[in-house]
Symmetry: C2
């Protein structure tokens, strides 16, 4: 039985570096483990030599997605139009980088800065975010790119912390190529029901991060991945399932501190990534086996693309 969702690894499992040599090494390692997607992270899309990296990806036979996280100085939800415009420009560059790399999805913290805010979001700030994402979505549509706006916890944004809020944002943006990016690490903090969130997101779910509650090895914390994955598959989600985990053994100190990684739960990238690949492969296979014969009565599969396998694993 083959897992049909593409399993991915985020480049930050190995390095924060953006040089072609560093990314070539990451691409080779991720592909060697078996990952079908590498998620490249662009704090600065200009820093990557997309032509060189595209060739490395092709040589390794691995797909690509892009991720970014806006900073306070480039926060599209800012009330300051200069700051918001700077963020919009970064998102456009990131869209272009994903397109040039051969990808179709830009995910991550798109709708505000990844930042501990000191006051609630404002109506004006939210309106700026909606307007900017609408323009970036139209730009991205020209490249066949979807924006997948990540829902993160309260300590990393004040704008959208739950799927319900994310769907409300998407409704206001009103562009079909803007979708939700759910992440189990954040859902464990914010969602009352992880299963409810997945089914509520429905066909607006575009991207999934699997991260453990302690951001370490999958299965070493409090997230019920079996239930989460079963619900994803029950809803017919066909998109990427990408593993994320952080350690200051790999991250630059500034990134570690931004993410509050004060203690390391791993130091061996390859071991961590190989474990996650094996964990996800078996967990998704188990979920598919457990769901044989069940079909979701919802009107639209998640992602809008496929049904569950039929009884006996036939498709």
């Amino acid at each position: 039985m083959t897992v049909r969702n593409k399993l991915g690894a985020q480049a930050l499992l190995w390095t924060c570096g953006t040089s072609s040599e560093e990314l070539r090494e990451v691409i080779i390692r991720a592909a060697a483990i078996g990952y079908e997607i590498l998620e490249l992270v662009f704090p600065d899309p200009d820093a990557i030599d997309v032509n060189a990296v595209r060739v490395f990806l092709q040589d390794a036979g691995i797909g690509v997605t892009g991720a970014t996280a806006l900073a306070p100085s480039s926060d599209i939800s800012s009330e300051d139009s200069t700051i918001s415009a700077r963020g919009e420009e970064i998102l456009r560059k990131a869209v272009r980088a994903v397109a040039e790399l051969g990808g179709t999805q830009l995910c991550g913290m798109l709708c505000s800065a990844l930042h501990k805010y000191s006051s609630p979001a404002t109506e004006t700030g939210r309106a700026n975010s909606v307007a900017a994402l609408r323009r970036v979505a139209d730009y991205a549509d020209g490249f066949g790119i979807s924006l997948c706006s990540e829902i993160v916890n309260r300590y990393e944004t004040n704008l959208v912390n739950t799927t319900e809020q994310g769907l409300a944002l998407l409704k206001d943006i009103a562009r079909p190529n803007v979708k939700l990016h759910l992440d189990t690490y954040h859902m464990n903090i914010e969602e009352s029901s992880m299963e409810g969130a997945v089914l509520m997101a429905g066909d607006r779910l575009g991207y999934v991060h699997v991260g453990e509650s302690n951001r370490g090895y999958l299965g070493s914390g409090n997230v019920d991945f079996a239930s989460f994955l079963r619900t994803l598959l029950l809803g017919g989600y066909t998109g990427p399932i990408v593993f994320e985990s952080f350690s200051s053994a790999v991250l630059e100190p500034s990134v570690s501190s931004q993410l509050c990684v004060w203690r390391n739960v791993w130091d061996n990238s390859d071991d961590l990534a190989a474990h996650a690949y094996a964990y996800l492969t078996t967990a998704v296979e188990s979920a598919e086996r457990g769901l044989r014969g069940y079909r979701w009565a919802g009107s639209q599969p998640l992602g809008g693309k496929r049904d569950l396998p039929g009884p006996g694993g036939k498709q």
Copy 2:
């Protein structure tokens, strides 16, 4: 069958206020629901008229504990000795307030500020925290007060995020009246095993907060309270079990923003608190029933005080 752990409610369920009139109202409401302990929070211990409040507590027949949370300007883990000294003075005042109120425990964020740090803890800062807590512990011992140092998540301290780190801190402080304060909200983010954390804390566990993963109604999120409470009781924990939950319907805006409460999951304090009381009472009773006949083979019950009920509920 009677629940023997005292069930408590934190005053912030009803108000951030510290006037005698406000606290009198809270005391009456908490006692009316059935809570046996009210946890009063002192950002500024001087703000409370302890003599008036002690009488209200006695009149209502409810016990009291104290909690505080140091600010960056009074952070005992600061490398700046002026700031550290300011924090130590606040802790001493809080100890004195608890004693004058008739309590025996000061809990909360004692070892550092409750704050999103922008860099890792330093050796000097940690040493300052250890030295200050040792002196405050000796001061507290004169009043028969225990300090219960809360373990909070990465976004609220850089010093101690897990039970393992907390025990290391306690070892360095080397004072028997300094204990751990565990909180399920934070454990859900940081601990690889909530059950493991409880049993590892052992007889150094002094205080427990039950908070849901979304900080709302108990049972409405991802915390497995049945397993957590069974483990607490299996280990023989006899200390307080105190409910904490936050809403900007009640909190002052500055406190709401400090805690990143950007959306409200409740607005009726009495309904929330009564629900939590009923939830905890039935959950603890169920845990005790489920554990009849089991005894923990550990050398010391948690808190060092009692065994589990014997078979058939005999004690």
